[in-house]
Symmetry: C2
Subunit: 85 residues, 2 copies
């Protein structure tokens, strides 16, 4: 059993209105030292595969097909062995 | 200048309908080995502070006040020195 921790972020050249909104809200709350905010998605996915390679293949495919939009987003992930029985 | 990478997740006892929806969609796409999905938020925040301690204080305060809802969510973050000039 593996736990994939997937982060999906907008590509650097893509506008991020949600991030700008959060930036404005933080400034309004008095956080003057904030320079930039980018908002993305985070997902934790439990995968019942016996090998790391199989789990990695699954996560890559999931991220490309459903979890991210490859035109405007990119993803990174870490994979942890869960040692459950 | 520091870059905070903040992950906000629902507490373990809180229902995650968005995660269930993603789980269902993945199963429908043929990913039968997926057992569980939890969806959270991910933010990258640039902070113009000279010391790590000051930046950490800012991030903790931001996360508690705006970025997360402490009743149902928890947050973790990493802080990277950006070495910009």
């Amino acid at each position: 059993m593996y736990l994939a921790k997937v982060r999906v972020t907008l590509k650097q050249m893509v506008n991020d209105p949600q991030g700008l909104t959060v930036l404005g809200a933080l400034k309004n709350l008095g956080f003057q030292s904030v320079e930039d905010v980018r908002v993305g998605k985070y997902m934790e996915i439990k995968i019942d595969e016996s090998s790391r390679t199989a789990a990695e293949t699954q996560v890559n495919e999931m991220a490309e097909k459903l979890l991210s939009n490859p035109v405007i987003e990119e993803f990174t992930y870490t994979l942890e062995d869960m040692h459950t029985r």
